[in-house]
Symmetry: C2
Subunit: 222 residues, 2 copies
């Protein structure tokens, strides 16, 4: 049997991943890992707490704010505005956190190895998807394959990216089929009470539901 | 040319690695990265500060205390005593921090990628050595090869373990030849004013100087 540790941000993709893992025939435990790395959209973490409660899943929090501070201070990203408009690489280059996925996966593997100690298989799940590849090198399938090998050797935990070749619309479809509470998920990069509906991630979210032909449960700013 | 970012604890091995990198013909900058992960022997960090000052090397600090807390709390290592006696696997199993090297290397790659942004090569240097292999899977050459590949794909930084096939005595020899200030390094796992001389790392340190036939500059507890 397998313990699945899912890096869970409270967004559409990782919440769909939680639900998909719950359906895996070899699943013993599904555990969510919420990473706090000093990200702006702390609304995600609040959403994550609601989601794991609804799914009846245990959650660990991994505090990587020290790493976030080290890297963001280098880029002085605290002075960089999150851009409005479509999710294209030029527009979103400011949102790259160098090495983020490698650090999250490695730290999750360390955490998981210290929790699952009875020899059952450990898989760290990341919800990176096809749309991430161009901008983020550490979301590409060849990176996932390489870090899977490294972490299996270094800590005994494997890495799985179930949506590696999926579009956002396909993820919405798969998540909905698996019973993911997508109405509780949070995407917006700005921190209001409702999704703004105009930032790049909100636009991507809206389009995903439209393309998947699934009713969008999101409350956008009127 | 190459920027070498050396994971530097203030101990014998990583201080020798700093000096060895300074002698590399392709070296542009040598940068020390001190990791704070809530380790007990904070004396190491004080030693590290003295060493980089002496070598005229820039230092960044990477704060991974959040990761250290997540993992150590799982193992309740705060209640585990560091054992006296020789450095054999059974004795030292309590000192394993799961996934530590993968996290340190990944975080260092992220930091380095945000500092060296002009396209010059980036190498992350770890001073893991032959004696670490049995106990620590993430110090073995096959892990180093795999994480080098993963991090090159994910963040553009490579990984080098110059002492991968060396003994502690050979490191003392190489470090001394390269001009490493080994008299400033710290090994002891206990936190006194002098090296205790009896814990596993102190015994290993003593033996390394004896085997290398180099005068031991260490002040041990009388």
């Amino acid at each position: 049997m397998t313990d699945y540790y899912v890096l869970h941000s409270g967004g559409l993709d990782s919440t769909s991943a939680l639900a998909v893992c719950q359906k895996m025939p070899d699943a013993r435990n599904i555990i969510a890992i919420a990473v706090n790395y000093g990200q702006r959209h702390i609304a995600e973490l609040a959403a994550a707490a609601q989601i794991i409660k609804k799914l009846g899943i245990k959650q660990y929090t991994l505090d990587l704010t020290g790493f976030g501070n080290s890297v963001t201070s280098a880029l002085t990203t605290s002075n960089i505005e999150v851009p409005d408009g479509s999710y294209n690489p030029d527009n979103m280059a400011a949102t790259v956190v160098p090495g983020r996925n490698a650090v999250f996966l490695s730290a999750a593997a360390g955490l998981a190895s210290s929790k699952t100690t009875d020899g059952e298989e450990i898989i760290i799940v990341t919800a990176t998807h096809g749309g991430d590849h161009e901008l983020y090198p550490d979301c590409r399938p060849e990176f996932i394959t390489a870090i899977d090998k490294a972490l299996r050797l270094g800590s005994g935990a494997g890495v799985w990216a179930p949506f590696s070749d999926k579009t956002k619309a396909e993820i919405v479809q798969l998540g909905t089929e698996a019973g993911a509470p997508l109405e509780l998920t949070w995407s917006c990069y700005k921190g209001g009470a409702y999704h703004c509906g105009t930032c790049a991630t909100c636009m991507e979210r809206r389009e995903a539901f439209i393309t998947a032909n699934i009713t969008d449960p999101t409350s956008y700013n009127p």
